[in-house]
Symmetry: C2
Subunit: 349 residues, 2 copies
């Protein structure tokens, strides 16, 4: 995978591979304003919790660049950061990235904007690099959960396209493959946005990792027939007790895996864990436009005037999760303790 | 719902509402040859086990009309009936309808084709009328399974369009509605062919029954949130022990319903029960063309050269089924006994 998110310091623009057009077209969407960043996030030019975080970090820099010539720049910037942080509700990485840069700013007292700009640029580049490194470390830990010969099911896209690169769930799959394990992948197509069919299949095929696409409806049959040995997915927000929000349908896949005695893993960096939320009940679930369900490409698939549901995420209870694969190792139940311990290890570094 | 299957005796043609074009276009597909009937079945101009049976019955008549002038007509007709009976593998109603007409013919010794024709036409019309009557009776029995105020989830289309009229699962829903129960329906969109989004929503909206469409992926979330009180689906073939083949994804819905303590019902006429098959393991599962998964309308959703799975059905084990709603009443576990008893009651009539 080439770099799908890159920032140009020359004109302060962020280039995003437009994920709405994959797999049939590879085009970049260029953001020159912080409002264009918000649009890109909301219409899902880019999606995936860690990629949303990195995009938002560059969005803060574009916002700073927009206001830095004005006397009221600090007030205006706070407003723009607030708007960015609320572009989408579920992925905690979005808020995390914005607040991380805001905290850095606060720590420098009355730093002039011309000095804040290079500081933030350095930090955003570091966040992007750190995200890739975290994915690779996660991959190393997670690869041990996958056996030679396994067929691994994944839901949605928790790959290079959902992160700064390499991927969380797909990072685990890549690491297992790179370690010489002969594995196959089943990508659930993941309606309504079809991230599995369009993005996961695209990424893995590019890397030469054997991948097939199945309708979400085929999941139970494939498990019943013994065609799946392991499930690995990403997450958009994890509560302190391990309950994990991820793409709609994940909770169903986890229940079906549990019923068929197939281990179900979450792969996510610690930045996806929200220690301020005790359980999944506290995670806000985004509802998205009906059009994503009622139309596919140019084809209308529901009758006029029939309402549709379009919840973007669901929450998988911790009891269905065999392990949470992080850059601090594979966390095991009880998660309240193993998550707290992972944050302690990270803080000591 | 208007009649979506009608035969014209004048020119021996069968008119089928083309279900591939719904909900945005209402056009009839006209079959003048038995090969056109086979095509219509295979490309799913018409689908749904009872509708497939009725279509095949009219197909037998068209086949007879094609060969009746030839000296070898009986040999040729047997060949055509064999081809018709194997147009699709899973729905037992197809074979049942063809063998029912063949049995009637065998019972008349060396009846000349000109006499067989009106006999079969009378019988096919009776089968079509009986199917509607069976659906209405099923509806009466099944309506008692639905409480006032319930939201009923259904998967695929087991409606008027899947039968000669009124529907099996949707017949139960219609009967509950007609009895004055204030119910709502959630139609799972049912990838890959989208029968739920396209057909179930269309039918129920036409009848003024409140219906919403959800992606198949939303099923677990909707149940988790208490938004579903009852599931009713159709069946394509039921084994003697109650294991039921139905549209891909049904088994997953049944497992999720079981996990959330939501009663899961099958609605199907006795002609869908195959007493020659002891359990679901014996039911053949059709695999259909990849194009149904890889493309939606004109939009390609998977990358070139990535294989896809397209199993058309799965089997729900009897243990997950709260009741099988038939024209002989609501059968309850243990099904081997209740199914056998239902056939005995029917035979005594």
């Amino acid at each position: 995978m080439h770099n799908h998110i890159y920032f140009t310091t020359k004109d302060h623009s962020l280039h995003l591979l437009d994920q709405r057009l994959l797999p049939t077209r590879e085009e970049f969407f260029v953001c020159r304003t912080s409002e264009e960043i918000i649009t890109a996030l909301q219409v899902m030019v880019v999606r995936g919790a860690p990629a949303i975080g990195v995009t938002a970090a560059w969005g803060c820099i574009i916002a700073l660049h927009e206001v830095m010539q004005q006397p009221q720049w600090a007030v205006l910037l706070h407003e723009k950061l607030d708007r960015l942080a609320h572009a989408r509700p579920t992925a905690v990485n979005l808020r995390w990235a914005v607040e991380h840069l805001r905290g850095l700013w606060a720590g420098r007292g009355d730093i002039p904007p011309a000095e804040l700009l290079p500081l933030w640029e350095y930090e955003a580049a570091a966040m992007q690099a750190d995200d890739i490194k975290a994915c690779q470390t996660m991959g190393q830990y997670g690869a041990a959960c996958i056996q030679d010969g396994d067929t691994v099911m994944t839901h949605c896209n928790a790959g290079a396209l959902a992160t700064a690169g390499y991927g969380t769930a797909l990072g685990v799959i890549r690491a297992a493959w790179e370690a010489g394990k002969k594995i196959k992948v089943i990508a659930n197509e993941t309606r309504p946005f079809l991230q599995g069919a369009r993005l996961t299949a695209y990424e893995l095929a590019q890397d030469g990792i054997p991948v097939s696409v199945a309708c979400d409806n085929a999941c139970a049959l494939l498990m019943q027939r013994g065609m799946v040995q392991c499930v690995v997915v990403g997450a958009d927000r994890i509560a302190a007790n391990g309950d994990s929000a991820n793409k709609i349908g994940t909770y169903g896949v986890a229940l079906l895996a549990h019923e068929h005695h197939i281990p179900f893993y979450i792969a996510a960096p610690l930045s996806t864990i929200d220690l301020t939320i005790m359980s999944g009940a506290g995670i806000p679930i985004e509802e998205r436009p009906a059009q994503e369900v009622s139309h596919i490409g140019g084809t209308q698939i529901t009758p006029d005037n029939v309402p549709v549901f379009n919840f973007a995420f669901d929450v998988t209870p911790a009891r269905l999760i065999a392990g949470i694969i992080t850059e601090e190792g594979v966390l095991r139940p009880p998660y309240t303790e193993s998550i707290a311990a992972a944050f302690e290890r990270q803080a000591k570094k």
